[in-house]
Amino acid sequence: MKGIYYPKLAWLGIKRNKQVYVPFMLTGIGMVMMYYIITYLEGSDALYQMSGGRQLQATLGFGVNVMAFFCVIFLFYTNSFLIRRRKKEFGLYNILGMGKWNIARMLVWESLIMYVIAVLGGLLSGVLFSKLAELAATRMIGLAPTYQFSVSLKAVRRVLFLFAVVFGLILINNLRSIHVSKPVELLRSENVGEKPPKVNWVLALLGVLVLGAAYVLAVSIKEPLQAMVWFFVAVMMVIAATYALFISGSVALCKLLQKNKKFYYRTNHFVSVSSMSYRMKRNGAGLASICILSTMVLVTISSTACLYFGKEDGMRIRYPEDIVLKTYTLDENAVGALQALAWNVVSDAGEQIEGEVFYRYLDVIAERREDFIATNDITLGFSMGTTSTQIDFYIVPLEDYNRLTGEQEELAPGEVLLGVSRGSDYSYDTITLEDWEPLRVKRVVRTLPPNGADNADIFASYWLFVPDFERYAAFYQGERLESLPVSTYSYYGFNLSADDKAQRLIVSAICERIGRAQIEDEAFPHVWVESIAEEREGFYGMYGSLFFLGILLGIVFVFATVLIIYYKQISEGYEDRAKFEIMQKVGMTEREIKKSVNSQVLTVFFLPLITAGIHTAFAFPLIQKIMLLFNAVNISLLIWTTIACFLIFGFFYIIVYRMTSRAYLKLVS
């Protein structure tokens, strides 16, 4: 009899407070499920046997830790609502003669029950959904699905362990908070008279300034590389400013409105404004968290989605032609031999070559100093303080340029065409190399020779199209070659009519022939072979797994947002009930009350969403530039994925609003 008493009491306690416990359990179940799925995928054999799958697993390996981190945070957060609600009950037990030790025993049982429910429910749904997730993952990274079903014992063990630790920590925290409190305080803990919120003007002002600075920073950065570095600074600033603004700024705004008597003492504003300042004081931090989580969801999913859906475009930028053969020579005979070799292989395979590209170039690593291109004493790499002046500097014969573009450009000696990569600009009339006479820039052109390696690296590139290529080649190959990072290339790329599988065969045949040719003829140059067909799997694997992880994290964030919102509504409901009774007695009609409640709840609810939207909008220029580094140049795609994400997220948000505000109104009326 005695043995079963405590579990029973614990179970009754949970049942009686199901309004707050059910969401907690659902959180637990959801977290366990997501954690199981991620760990399952990370160790899945089916995925490991595919090369794209291994890429995904590496990404997920990172995801597992992020997931575990958020599990701890969210469960702790929801628990804080739980324990606040139950303190009164514990106080009553204490006064009725239950010692703290007895309450502790009950709490232990409660934690145990919650743990079992969360783990059982979570594992069950995790096992069910893990296969679905695996299918989705394989589909997304473009692999053939497998249909065998399995349970990963390793993942189960990890789940059991992680959540035992989390629930243990929560229990310890609860025991501590019960232990330090006095019974009378426990009884009254829910309604202690509240002081009016004090306005921290400094913090509010700081919030406005920091946010403004972050926004200015976000829109003013031009270079992709700068964007990458400053992005994190801007994120930190925005997070800090969001907290400051939601906590102090909102209260400050309410206070300002209250000072404006004409505005404040109106039926519509009076109650709303004054309660809003209290609401914001209590909820500022929570709302800021919602806002930041929402922004993260939006940014993560929209950018990974953009990468994913733009992956073919991205690949084409990295691999402009199906097959690219780059030789480290300017010798046209050698290139001719290589071309013949490729033609032979392709025609042996019964396929056709379509669209050949050929040009020669010098690749110089240099530093741009206004209109001077320095190749001596340059600082390589990139650091945050300096502007990124390191550039990729290419020199191409004019005839090759004319062949590539179909133009008939003619240049006098000392005249050049200057090609400038995306995101950069050149506004001088001349350009100076070494200690030579300045060269006259006849025209700045934007059509550049296809070059995947250049597109893939992070530095801005400048192309010099010159009529007297030999002079440059001689100079850079001759006296300066030893000391300088200068390379000479002949670029030969072509497309094929074949599918990926046939292309892979062709590529390996080409490689084999080149190997043979190099043995037979020592003069045969070194060749760098790139094939889009061979890279596609890895590429899809990378972008697919990023998107997949983005979605998983997005789900978790949405989950967290929903939860915070729900608890907010419930706890507010309890607090507001008494207030609205008074207002009704003083002569507020039920309709007025409903209207006021609605406007406040709407504000509290949609403020984070709207702010998240604004944050995302301002982050957009930065993200777009960072995406350039990932070869995602399709701005309209990014705009659409961002908007779509916002709409989908907003849709979920509104559903949650509907559901929770019903629970809220039930409490209030």
Binding site: G193, E194, T267, F270, S274, M583, Q584, V586, T589
Partner: protein, 254 residues
């Protein structure tokens, strides 16, 4: 002329499944003249709170009518009830019912703001009332900074600022200490002397002894009433005590 006329008011509560019926008020009839100060006394469960709720239009009677200035408040439409209550009645509650989120000034303004009164008018009205109730210095404080007596005076100010036909007070001294009780009762007498009609529900003999007339309710009926006539507060106190004893003992016999 009678401001408030209560005629044959009956209130029956039915338990949820209709198994039991509890008759909170049987047949209550009385009237209050303009400028009167009436106390309604009764023990817990005698039906006095039910009666007050009906007078305040917070609850509807099962039968009978309540006329305020000749208009039956039991037939006022649901949508108008709030503004009806706001314009014609002032309330003082045992537990003050001040809003924590408002300063004292805003708490007092609340009914006026709800009625859409102009800022200037509100300022004109609050000054004399705050002065009379001795809370002029407290206007910018918040409820958590006030003592019980100060809170109740704020509540009285809030009740008076709409210039109601009747102030309904529900056990206004219930949560106060004896000093604050004395002060508050003195204020009620003053307000009444200025012509304000007051109806107070209480089971405190002391509170009732300040009234001009005392109604006794027992088992849902008006059992007896006492007029002050020329009696002092102390003498009225004695009479009320005697009456309560009689009621209590007669209950035992019956």
């Amino acid at each position: 002329m009678a401001i408030l006329e209560v005629q044959n008011v009956r209130k029956v509560y039915t338990t949820r499944f209709g198994a039991h019926q509890v008759e909170a008020l049987k047949e209550v009839s009385f009237s209050v003249e303009a400028g009167e100060y009436v106390a309604i006394m009764g023990e817990s469960g005698s039906g006095k709170t039910t009666l007050l709720n009906i007078l305040a239009a917070l609850d509807r009677p099962t039968g009978g009518s309540v006329l305020l200035d000749g208009r039956d408040i039991t037939t006022v439409k649901e949508s108008e009830i709030a503004s009806f209550r706001r314009d014609r009645l002032g309330f003082v509650f045992q537990d003050f019912n001040l809003l924590d989120t408002f300063s004292v000034r805003d708490n007092i303004y609340l009914p006026l703001v709800l009625a859409g009164i102009k800022m200037k008018e509100m300022e004109d009205r609050i000054k004399p009332i705050a002065k009379r109730l001795g809370i002029s210095e407290l206007l910018d404080k918040y409820p958590y900074e006030l003592s019980g007596g100060q809170k109740q005076r704020t509540a009285v100010a809030r009740a008076l600022i709409t210039r109601p036909r009747v102030v309904l007070a529900d056990e206004p001294t219930g949560a106060l200490d004896s000093k604050a009780t004395d002060e508050l009762l003195k204020m009620f007498s003053q307000i009444n002397a200025d012509g304000q009609t007051v109806l107070m529900v209480t089971h405190s003999v002391k509170a009732a002894s300040h009234a001009g007339r005392v109604l006794f309710i027992k088992d849902g009926e008006v059992y007896h009433q006492l007029y002050r006539g020329n009696l002092t507060n102390e003498a009225l106190y004695q009479r009320i005590s005697d009456t309560l004893t009689t009621i209590a003992t007669s209950g035992e016999e019956g």
